[in-house]
Amino acid sequence: MIAFRPGVEAMIPALRRYARALARDPDIADDLVQDTLVRALRSEKLFVGGDLRSWLYTILTNLNRNRRRSLARQPQFSPLVENAPDASGTEAESRDIARALATLQEDQRAVLLLVMLEGMSYREVADIQGVPIGTVMSRLARARAHVKNSLEGMRPSLRRVK
């Protein structure tokens, strides 16, 4: 087993990537990662082996769910224009994917990102979300259909006119 702290440390870049896509706002994303790390360190003695990676993703996913629930009570403000500089990819395309993600329901977004961005297995995602694999698969299917539709809707030239 990899030692606890180096194991956690090695996960920070990937946790930041996941949080960035999940929360969109880079500062909120790092807040989530910071709180995940603080919790992980606090529970260091409780961690008796097992999958450190899944455990960290579970904490982050739960924290974000708590955050969203509390935000859900607030009036919806129109989201800020994405102004993070894009180092790669065509800018228009990556804005599209970010916007499409934003319209997803919370649990579906998490599944999509855990599978497609973080390369988790269905089994791991099921453990992280505490649901059966069938639920993971239906969330994934719905998320993909939704993102596909909204990406197509953003490109009017591809709309079929009949």
Binding site: V8, E9, I12, P13, A14, R16, R17, R20, A21, D27, I28, D30, D31, V33, Q34, D35, L37, V38, R39, L41, S43, L46, W55, T58, I59, N62, L63, N66, R67, R68, R69, S70, L71, A72, R73, Q74, P75, D86, A87, S88, G89, T90, E93, S94, D96, I97, A98, L113, V115, M116, L117, S121, Y122, M137, L140, A141, R144, V147, K148, L151
Partner: protein, 254 residues
Amino acid sequence: MTEPHIPVTEDELHAYVDGELPAERTAAVEAWLATHPEDAERVEAWRAMGQALHARYGNVLDEGVPKRLELDHLVKAPRRWIFGAVAATLLAFIVGGGVGWSVRSVSAAPADPLELLRREAITAHKLYIGEVRHPIEVAATEAHLLPWLSRRVGTTLRAPDLASFDLKLLGGRLLPGITAPAALFMYENPAGERVTLYATPLKTATSGFIYKEDNRVALVEWVADNYGYAISGPADKPRLKGIARASYEQMEKR
């Protein structure tokens, strides 16, 4: 052996893209895609989606880790107040307070006490579980937590021990309540899932456990000896009822 005659399911198409398809079905799925252009187009779109995600977020991996996320820093320094967090907290208080207030004034007509209890408890639950830095007012480690809340709420309060549900008491806070002050205890499991116990004086008939679900958050409420109680947490009926029953039993033993 391949089984090309078993029809390919939607789940298999996803599994194919995600590398989760059993090897013996690969040939069948590929044969299917060759003859079903609409499915082939979907599979292609999903792959492109994956590439777009990596193009958009992949570069985060190459960014330097900011100082505030370095483990040494997190261990040594007490966590700093971060502007965003402060602003978010204030906003939550102002907006949350505002919503609570308007609900209170609109519902001037006498409502069902259990309905009021439910509304107050779930509102407090949703507001405070989202607080990363200040979910509670007084920590469980402080000896005056229970005497203080008991005095304000007007009964001898006990914070039930929910260790058998993997829940640890973080602490509590005082809230305005329905007709008198209310106490809110917050519990957390190692994975960060939070459950709250709400308690307030409530003059109405004793009731059994009532389970209500609201968009994946749920609560179990009950009334005993002119006090209303509610356990709120992630929607999971058997678990929440178990927690409510354990809390009730522990609080009755006094």
